[in-house]
């Protein structure tokens, strides 16, 4: 599992590579949160294009980051999830965060 960050204006783009489960989500959570605090950003985009596996720990990770982003008045979205990941996102209504643009 690896995570890369890019800043676009006031938006932090988080690109996750690999598998998101309970084990990796704890590491991801710490890395994403510290970057979000350090950078002058208020919005977050989580790019799931390179995520090959995600279980409900990923839902917890996304919902937790959404709370954080909302608390500073920012907007949160998800992009490029693979079909098997959309299935789990839909179960918890997190799929409404999937951005429509490519």
């Amino acid at each position: 599992m690896d995570v890369r960050f890019k800043r676009d204006g006031t938006t932090l783009i988080v690109s996750i590579d690999g598998e998101i489960d309970h084990h990796t989500s704890r590491i991801l959570k710490d890395r994403i949160d510290s970057k979000f605090i350090m950078e002058p950003v208020k919005n977050m985009i989580i790019d799931l294009a390179r995520v090959t596996f995600m279980d409900s720990a990923g839902i917890g990770l996304i919902m937790g980051r959404m709370k954080r982003v909302s608390s500073v008045g920012g907007k949160m979205s998800i992009r490029h999830p693979k079909p098997e990941i959309i299935k789990i996102l839909k179960m918890s209504n997190v799929d409404k965060l999937i951005s429509k643009e490519a």
Partner: protein
Amino acid sequence: MQPINKMRAEFISKSVNESFARVVVASFVAQADPTIDILADIRTAVSEAVTNAIIHGYEENEGVITIECLLYADHVEITVEDSGKGIEDIEKAKTPLYTSRPELERSGMGFTVMETFMDSLTVESTPGKGTKIHMTKQLKNR
């Protein structure tokens, strides 16, 4: 009906073993040549069951988790067992979005995911003794 193959794996309750458990079960079931979607569903359900044993059964202390797979011509039976603290109220634990440990930022969707991704789910648990999660999945549904 006799299973065509059987396996049993035992490992300690370290979170790094969640991916190990998924890989072991998926490669065992792969010999029945299921679709990629079915295999993905099984990996997800196994991951949830093992995570449940680590976080709730053993509360992140060290214990032993056992996985048993019985492979039949058309379906697989998977049992994930721990000797942890057990579940007091199984129905409550299965409620979507319910989590007994909100401080961990969990979604509370573990059992809902297992129920949705597998064809059947049975949970047996004795407080103080442990939990056994039994799941089945059809492999040939075309």
